[in-house]
Symmetry: C2
Subunit: 346 residues, 2 copies
């Protein structure tokens, strides 16, 4: 295959971090990335060059381009943390050479060459060669959400209680978690903000779905907590709502923050609960989890994720697949639609 | 020794818990306890009856009488979590019988017969027979603060970093912690609210003392955090100040709440730090620690505490020893004075 000298990509417009708080919406995408033409990168010895077929847009991508994610931006580099594509070149290491010609799901985390581009660079060891049953959009969203889902559900299982709480429960990530959980007899308590999500999430595996904007929410929450005694609260929103949920949890409750969709101040309503009820507040970040997890556990969740997409237990709800050239004009509008995922396809 | 039929005691005026938030001041002591005459209790098989010589007033006592501590109140029972006195009677078990005649430090935690009285009931197994070098006020404050100090300093040691942060650092508890810490080469960072406490705490073992009301506090805090890289923050206050301190801590910082002196809302200034900086927020309660700790660890800290008081490495700063009859009139005023401890003596 002939590899061109240059390629199109959505390039970061800023360096480092931003001090301005913001949420996970992307109405002002043009403030953060621009379509540009740059040289096609060369893979290092342990890397591969992937011709991108599709790249997903995760909440973590949005926070990253805004400078609000835990990694610094590099101006002029393509954005995009994961994608699917064909390996068209590789560095000198055998691991990468063996992948040439393969269709792979890939993360770009360590390479600084993002997936919102015609070509991307990934570490060969981090690529997942895809079996035929996995389609391109599933492959493009195979890593960030599925691994986070399986890793966080692992925390629920370690803690032992069958019930656990989720905010922003209509997200793709939460639907993945609830599917696995329901299969294994766990009881997700899904917190949402709209009644039309209730039936959808019950189907996705939720044991209870509560609308946080309903007038009887606090009473309903209290009743569910009493009945189900959840220990783990997987929280993507923070802010006052998350504080109220944590406050209603029983003894030994653990508030695990993995997202920050609400930028309002986050209160701890009754700090005495930390003392007398042995509650605690912590965070989850896939990057840290991958660093700290035992290799067999890491490989286990990767295999598990691929099997689930291949046999149809998991699938990706697609809002839109937007061509790279149209991304800045169309992605903000597509992202604002509920319940599905948006992809960029060169 | 003849034991009378009745005794004087400061009796709880309310049952259970209170819903009204409050701080650790006790200006309205008369709202919560009253001087009364009740029957002298009979020790159960595993218990002893102690003729009280002195009883301390800890912040946990204040929170308890107000109904804001992790144990329910029982109306008509004496308050007071610990004291010193002579064992004058015992239940049938050999452990208690052996203590008759001994001067002991005692906790009342499980007996519901408090130490703010002429006589108190304690579990024989929890009493600490005192050696001569330990005076009565040291004995009366031998358990709650010293064991909390040694248990929390144990957490600092387990975490490994030499530096750690303390709020309400002029408290007796913090002075105990700083003394042990300095001896072992640890570097306490003491946060106070008044300049006249600075020299005092440097003497007590603080590596740094910062006045939180100083105009350059945030800059000074930032500089100290950068230099010392503390991991543990032992917090007795909560509220906005504690949030600011947690926010300034480096990666992997742990905010350990053991008191609630500030009743203002407690914010988590940047919840993203929980995710990307691996910080967490938890609580410490001696009662839980004693339940969970290995017996040899428990015995170890009790022995260590007594040795430290006996050989003079630790001593108790006394603000006042107030007679039981005068307690309700005088204790609020004495408690409002800084830097020392208030005792009640029958």
């Amino acid at each position: 295959m002939t590899i061109p000298a240059t390629m199109r990509a959505l390039l970061l417009k800023h360096d480092g971090y931003s001090a301005a708080p913001s949420d996970a919406s992307l109405a002002d995408m043009a403030s953060f990335v621009e379509l540009g033409e740059i040289g096609v990168p060369e893979p290092g010895p342990s890397q591969v060059l992937v011709k991108v077929r599709a790249a997903s847009i995760n909440p973590s991508d949005v926070m990253f381009v805004k400078g609000l994610y835990g990694q610094p931006r590099h101006k002029g580099q393509p954005a995009g943390f994961e994608g699917v594509g064909e390996v068209v070149a590789a560095g000198s290491d055998a691991a990468g050479q063996k992948l040439v010609g393969a269709r792979v799901a890939f993360p770009t985390g360590l390479s600084n060459w993002g997936s919102w581009a015609d070509y991307a660079i990934a570490e060969a060891a981090a690529c997942i060669p895809l079996i035929d049953g996995v389609n391109d959009v599933d492959g493009a969203a195979m890593i960030v959400n599925p691994l986070t889902a399986l890793a966080m559900f692992g925390i629920v299982k370690e803690e032992g209680e069958k019930a656990f709480v989720l905010t922003a429960a209509a997200s793709q990530l939460c639907k993945l978690i609830m599917g696995v959980a329901a299969e294994e007899g766990y009881r997700p308590i899904a917190i949402v903000r709209r009644d039309d999500q209730i039936a959808l999430l019950e189907k996705a595996g939720a044991a209870h779905v509560l609308n946080a904007t309903a007038p009887d929410f606090d009473a309903a929450l209290k009743a569910v907590m009493k009945k189900e005694q959840p220990r783990i609260f997987l929280d993507a929103v923070t802010g006052p709502l998350a504080g109220r949920i944590f406050n209603a949890m029983p003894k030994r409750g653990r508030w695990i923050v993995y997202g920050r969709l609400d930028t309002e101040t986050t209160p701890i309503p009754e700090p005495g609960q930390l003392i007398f009820m042995h509650k605690r507040i912590e965070g989850f970040w896939l990057t840290n989890w991958l660093r700290a997890a035992a290799p067999e556990r890491r490989v286990g969740v990767v295999m598990e994720a691929q099997k689930r997409f291949a046999d149809g237990r998991w699938s990706t709800d697609v809002t839109a697949v937007v061509p790279l050239d149209e991304a800045i004009a169309r992605v903000p509008g597509e992202l604002a639609k509920p319940n599905g995922k948006v992809f960029i396809a060169p």
